[in-house]
Point group: C2
Chain length 579, copies 2
Amino acid sequence: MPLLRVALGQTNPRVGDMTANAVGIVAMARDARGQGADLIAFPEMSLTGYPIEDLALRPEFLTRAHHHLEALAQTLATEGIGSTPVIVGFPSGPLHDRARHVEHAIAHNSAAILAEGRIIGIYNKHHLPNYSVFDEYRVFRSADGVTILRVNNCDVALAICEDIWHDHGPVEAIAAEKPGLVLVINGSPFERDKDDVRVPLVARRAEQTRAHVAYVNLVGGQDDLVFDGDSFVTGPGGLVIARAPKFVEHLLVVDLELPDARVRAGQHGETVTVIDVPTSEREHPPLAAPTADETMTDAREAVWNALVLGLRDYVTKNGFTGVVLGLSGGIDSAVCASLAVDALGPQRVTGVSLPSRFSSDHSRDDAADLAARLGVEYRVEPIADGVATLEGQLKLEGVAAENLQARIRGVILMGISNSSGQLVLTTGNKSEIAVGYSTIYGDSVGGFAPIKDVPKMLVWELARWRNDEARKHGATPPIPENSIAKPPSAELRPGQVDQDSLPDYEVLDAILSMYVTDRSSRDEIVATGFERGEVDRIIDLVDRAEWKRRQGAIGPKISEMSFGRDRRLPITYRRDRAE
Amino acid sequence: MPLLRVALGQTNPRVGDMTANAVGIVAMARDARGQGADLIAFPEMSLTGYPIEDLALRPEFLTRAHHHLEALAQTLATEGIGSTPVIVGFPSGPLHDRARHVEHAIAHNSAAILAEGRIIGIYNKHHLPNYSVFDEYRVFRSADGVTILRVNNCDVALAICEDIWHDHGPVEAIAAEKPGLVLVINGSPFERDKDDVRVPLVARRAEQTRAHVAYVNLVGGQDDLVFDGDSFVTGPGGLVIARAPKFVEHLLVVDLELPDARVRAGQHGETVTVIDVPTSEREHPPLAAPTADETMTDAREAVWNALVLGLRDYVTKNGFTGVVLGLSGGIDSAVCASLAVDALGPQRVTGVSLPSRFSSDHSRDDAADLAARLGVEYRVEPIADGVATLEGQLKLEGVAAENLQARIRGVILMGISNSSGQLVLTTGNKSEIAVGYSTIYGDSVGGFAPIKDVPKMLVWELARWRNDEARKHGATPPIPENSIAKPPSAELRPGQVDQDSLPDYEVLDAILSMYVTDRSSRDEIVATGFERGEVDRIIDLVDRAEWKRRQGAIGPKISEMSFGRDRRLPITYRRDRAE
């Protein structure tokens, strides 16, 4: 049985920056070649970053990608990696095509095989995800056909991400060809508990094709998505034999004993392209035994790390010097500040206390305590003068006056941001954003919302977990216990608490999960035991807050249903009053 | 040759409000029956409103739609319209289907045939638009098969909107069957000059099928879309023989002499369903001669009316009492205020002058003059005190101080809005929004942006046109000549004009049209004669402003490429510096 040493390069590209992404690919390929790899694979769209959205409709972008790919092939050859095939994801389009106002997809989502200084083959994705956050029918064309790469007398079938999520299509066709290895390149974003889905899925494909499966995934934050990496390889029985860590760039190298090449093109219905790579003698320096264990089996740890990576990459990929956020003494801003420090270090984080006449002493104390624990720069900017000036001028009262306080805070944070160049973080959680419990242009100001997809109950869980972790490692727990323990309040009037206007968060989060995530109906929610009036009120709040959400900052998706591209609903929408 | 009296009901439904939409359908059907109609057709999704977006993924919504449709059929029968087939657009889904977290489309985009108190047939859309603002692959399943309605010995083939935009598919299959009439129900939004596309397209389909074609379209604003109506009927040669007005609800009734029914199901490849409607004796009171002229052949008039309707429907369908906006004395706010008055009347519009220490006298005079011309409530709220308080506290200077002025204006407008319940209009034009020439949470505050899709050069054109119209009708031109003539300025520092930071708007708009609308590359734009440095700078500004646009208000789409769902690009995006 021939041995194939496969290297999976779990990279973190930046969308559009093909020069830098290619440099990263070359560096990792050099490392892989140094370890004696026979085949090196990078994730879906690793050349351009992912998702590229409507950039795929720009002929110029596609032409650039092609040129970069050719240059990359040459660089790899120059670097002495020319005889080792390297798989790279990229958008392949018609070159020099120039249609005015391109409306329909012109590109494929493709995997290029680079060897000998050139592109020796291209596989195009069959199944295009067009649900959740994905719009691939909009920007890509689907394809068919099987592509087999023959290297070292092993047959390697290619597939791209969504291709393996369907029983029919390429998986069936690949199974019929009996390759030794199925290599799947992916751009699969993190979701809580998604690893519970991916590994069994890949195991099923391994059994179905009776082949090893190598699964290489992107890592890194891109706008509202966090790619978690977690690349892995299974045997033909579906057992995981090697696994990369999550949330970091990593090169996973593994030796596979594969059957002799046996695919004969044209035997079955599907078009099969076999690409033969002339192999040279290779040294195989001994490999360390691969780790097959999953990193971060604790769901809270995985979520925390996803949020940290999403925040870090948004800040660094967009070139911000650091972040600034309001510290209220409450749990949301405490968690956001802790995430920011874990992402960027304390030197790049500024916390601002923005007390009003309604702010309690404990709020100021807890905010100062948090800043001290985190070691971040801390400013106090009272809002009393600004509020008094405008409240007096406009004669505001009630909710209008409450909102004014939040808006003066927003103005102050944006003033600091405009002076310092720091990105403002907005600290709203998913439960608040769902029901619109926030002041637009007030506490919602900011370019990034670290806990946008974290329901309030999970915010508390994460805070407790993070403090426990600190204790475990002998460090200071970052979050003041008081911020975790006290009843949540917006402190916009004396003695106000969230539960004046909202049900207990336990109830709220349960109803929101059913209505927002599961798309359950009112009757279905009521049938699980909640009071009809309460369910009605919550649903109404969610529906009416759509306009606010549309103007909200993006934030990392960690659930199967986040607010944003994941959930597209009209603002102008009137549920029948009769029902 | 049998005569068929066809009624097209150009309705303005509200998304989700099926009870009210059904009431509107019944009222118009009664009118049509009173005029002796043999067949009555309403637009795509006329029962639910359109587009319903992810509501189509909610099983409960689909079940409700089905119940409303059944009730509508019964009501029509009760009203004595049971023997006249009525075509109504709706989303048809599996009933009582209950999949947790429905990710994939379960519904069809359908046309129901209602007669005799029940649903006697359903046609499902074949071609699903999945470009521009449309995501129909996400939420609908495509279908095949031809549906022929046989009424009064005439064969009427059904089609839905996108179905007729493709040469292949249903149009071919329909042509093979030789029906007398092709009835197309549509949800086709307004775009400048789109009528130049629709009529020739339908004419081509008439020639291809050798049938009359009846085209019935929605009217009204729904979030960022404006449906313009403009329903019409062509003869088999493609000549327009009847045409409804644009931008208003309308019932278009027309007599057609059609060939005897001749479709024989199953003759050709496609599945053909023929639905026979038992016809009763009908009276045919004489019809007024139909008008075949297009309304609003002036493109500026059509755009103005689209903007008025989009604004009016956003305000009224969302239940706002009125609107409030800042009046700067400049052209953008003057045009927005004039649109608001045309949409809602002067009683529902409040203009607020928000002078700073840099505001020129002419700004205040022009704002007051505008308010007087329009007859709207006018307030003056100086920002000096608010600005001084916060500028002093934060020690802001430069751009941060300029932005502060805009943000205090935003806070004041939102304070007024929160007190009065009026919707804030934000007055930015497309050119500004493209390059990010605005202060986020400052002049961008507001729930609706009336001229979001109107480039600056067109803003001027519209202003001149609107004033000319007033003069033509002996009314006061609403917009002060000075607001049109003076050089545009944000007035955030002494003597500032837009052209300090931006090229002339003529140049800017030309470059933006190529980059944004046509998706042209930098080289292509430079090749048309613009200076490379200028092109680079504009493209860079557009790319970098994506995060601001994501948090911007929606506004009516009037071009083939608006900002919003029409153009989906990453925020985190780095063009290669080397290129």
